[in-house]
Amino acid sequence: MRALIHRIGQGFVVIAIVATATFVLIRLAPGDPFAGALENAHLTPALRAQWRAAYGLDGNIGTQYVRWIWALLHGDLGWSVSANQPVARVIAAALPNTLWLMGIALLLSFGIGMSLGALQAARRNRATDHVIGAVTLFGAALPDFWLALVVLLTGAYWFRVFPVGLASDPLLPVAASLGTVLRDRLAHLALPVLTLLILIAAPVARQQRAALLDRLGSDWIRTATAKGVGPWTVFRRHAWRTALGPVVTLGGLALPALVGGSVFIERVFAWPGMGALAATAISTRDYHLVVGCVLVGSVMVVAGSIVADVLSQLLDPRAMQIESDVSRITS
C-alpha cells in the first residue's frame, strides 16, 4: 500500500513536469491566438495587440504562470480563445470521443494482435506464421495519414458503405431512439477503428509472438506436460498466461495514444477528439487549451500507468520481487 501512495506522489511530479514544460514551451512559439485570418484587411496588428492584452496573454511568462496556477487551484483551467468556451468544457466535449474511438480500437487491436501472435507462435515457422508476419509487418509500415485516407475513400466514397468522417450524424434528431444513435455511432466508428487496427495490431502480434516463443522454450512447460496436462491447457495457462507481461507493458506504452488520440486519424476522419483538438490548439497558440489538454492527458496517463503496474504485478508476481531484491542489495 505504501508503494502505491509513493507511486501516486511520483505521478504528481510527472504531471507537474509536463504541465510546466508545456506552459513554457507553447509560449516560446512565435505568434499568438489572434494571428489568424491575415487576409482580413480590417484586422490590423494594433488591434491584435489590444486583444492579447484584453485576454491577459501579454506580460512575462512568470506572471502568466502564477496566474494560471492560481486559477488551476480553483479548478479553473482557463479560457479557450479558439473555441470561445472554458477549456474544461472543450476538453469534456473532446475527451469522450477519443476514449470511445481509441478504447475500442486498442481493445480490438490487442485482442486480435494477441490472438494472431499466439497463432503464429503455435504454428511456428510454418506458412501461417510467415503469412501473418508479412501482412502485419506491411500494415504497420504504412504512413498513418495516407492509410487513413485510402481507407476513408475506399469505405465511404468508392464503396459508399460508411459515412465520411465525423463522430456522429449532425442531422440526427435529439429524440432519436437509442438504437439509431448507437447504429449511427458505430457506422462512424468503423473506418477509423479499421485504420487503427491495421496500425496497432501489427506490433502487438509481433510482441506477443516473441514473448510466447520465449516462454514455450522454458522448463515449466515441460513440467506441465509431464504432469499430464492437455496441450491446449498447457498453451493457455502456462505459456500464454506468462507471456502476457510484455503485452501489458506494451499496453502501458499505448496509454498516451488512448488519451491523446492520433492526430492523423482524427484529422483525416474529422474526428472531434483530443488529438485534433491539441494539434489545432498548438497551431492557433490557444495557450490555456494546449496546457489543459496536456494536463488532462498526463493525469490520465499517470493514472493509467499505475493501473498497468498493478495489473502487471498480478500477471507476473516476480516483477515486484525483483524490484525489491535489487533495491535491497544496491541501496
Binding site: E39, N40, L43, T44, L47, V81, A93, P163, V164, A270
Partner: protein, 557 residues
Amino acid sequence: MPRLRALSLIAVLTLAGCSGTQDAKQAAAKDLTGGTLVISTAGGPDNLMPPITVQNSGLQVEDLVFQHLATVGPALNSIGDDGFTPDLATRWDWSKDSLSIAFHLDPDARWHDGAHVRAADVAFTFDLYMDPKTGASAAAQLANIDSVIARDSTTAVFWFRKHTPDQFFEATMQMQILPAHLLRSLDRATLASAPIASQPVGSGPFRVVRWESGRTIELAADTTGGRRRAHLDRVIFTQSADPVTAFTRVATGEADLYEAVRPDKVAEVVKNPQLKLIIAPSLSYNFLSLNQVDPATGKPHPVFGDRTVRRALTMATDRRSIVANIYDSLAVQARGPFTSAQASADTTLRPMPYSVDSANKLLDAAGWVRGADSLRRKNGTVLGFTIAVPSSSLPRVRASVLFQEQFRRVGADVKVESSDNSAFGARMQARNFDATIGAWAQDAGPANARDAWTTAAAARGLNNYGAYRSSAFDAELDSALTVLSATESHAHFAHAWKIITDDAPAIWLAEPRLAMAINSRFVTTGMRVDSWWAGIPKWYIPADKRIARDAPATAAR
C-alpha cells in the same frame, strides 16, 4: 443622387444566370418552405460577436443571424445609395446637405427572443463599435460618422462629418445591428468570452440553435413575430479539418455545399449528376509582396529597395503559367491591387509582360552581375532573399516554390521558409520577411486599397506590410475616394493603379474565383460577389427534389 453608370460586369458572371427573375416569382407562388442545407467547411468561427469576429466562417453565420440597416445590391455599387435593398430599415431619407441620413426601421422587426428592435439598438450598436475597448475591426471605416441618435422608437439618424461617395455604404454595410438589452451590461474588453458570443440573439432570418465548437453549427429559420420567414428550415455547418475530407462529404451527398473546390476536383464535380459547379468572381487577390525595408537593419531593402530590380523580378516571372498551375481555370491573372469585379477596377490595365531577356538586361543594368555559378552578385553580396509562407495554405506554398524556380533562372538565390499559421502571422506583424505571398479579401467598399497600400498604412501596426510609400499614389487614391462624380473617381483610380503597378511593390499574381460545389436540388438566388451566402434566406428546394434530410426536423431542438 445622380444615377451611376452601370458597372461593367464581366460576362462570365454566372451568378445572374442561375438566379433568373422567373424563378423568384415561381417561388413566391408555391409554398416552398422546408429543406435543410448542410455546408461542409474546413475551418470554424472563433466567435459569433459581429464587431470582433475574425474567421470567414463566422462572418457567414453572422450575415444570416443579424441584419444590416440596408444591404448593397448584387451590382456592388458602393457610391451613394443606388441599388441598396432595404433590410432592417424599410426606407431612409437624406438631408439636403447630405450630412445626415434618417433610417426608418421596420416596425414589426423583432429580436429572436421576441423583443422589438428599436432605434435605440442602432445607436447602442454604433456606440459599441466605436468604443475603443471593444476593439471592433470596422471602427476605422465608421470614422466619418459623427454620431447616431434615436429620434423616436423607429427612426435612427446618422450625422456625418463629410459628404463622401461611400458614406451610405460604410454606414449600412460596416455594422450589424445588435440587441442593446442583451449587450448593455457586458464588459466590452472581453466581448468574445461572453456567453452570448456563442449563443447570439439577432434579428436576421435565421437563429442559432446550437454550436458545438469545432464540430457543427445549426441555424433554424426564425419565425418570431410572424415575419416573412426564409424558405429553408435549417442551415447546418459541419466542420472537418482536412479539406479533402470536407469535399468528399459533399461528393458522397452527406453534405450539400463546399465552397473551395480544388482545381483537380472540378472534373469530378461536373461529372457528378447530384452536384452543380458554380464559378464566380471574388473580391480577393494575392501577390508576392516585396518588402521595401530590410527587416534586419530598417534601411531600404538591399534587393527590393531598387525599383528597377523590382520591375526586373516582375518581368522574370511567368505569372500566367503560375496561376494556371495553381488554379487551373479557377483564377484570373491579377492586374494590380484590385479585383475586376470591383467598381474601382481598371480592366484595361495590362500587367507587365513576361520577358526573361528584358529582366536579365535590367538586372545587369542595376549592377547585379551574373557569376560563374550563374548567381548574380553586386559588390560581393548574392542576389538572394527568402519567401515566407504559412504551411497551412496550399496555394501560397505552391506559389512560393513556383516563384523560387523562376527566380533561379534569372540568377537569384531564393529560399522558401514556411511556418505554421500563428508563427507566420507574428512574422507578418513584425514585418520580419524579405518577400511573402500576401492576399487581401476585400469588402465591397472602395477604400480597401487605402488600408493596404498607402503611406499612412505603412506605419507600424497597420496593414501595408511591404511599407510601399508613394505620395503620388496616395494623392490619386485620396481624390478617387473623395470626388463625388463616378467618372472622375474612376479616372483617379485608374491613375493610382498605373502608378503602383509601375512601381511594382509586389508581383500581382491571381484573382482566385469562387469555385463551389452545391447539391443540384437547390435553386440558389441572390448570390453576391462579396458574399455568395447573402441570398441563402431566398434559396429553396423545388417540392419534387426533396430528399430525406429535407423533411421538417421531427423534434424541434
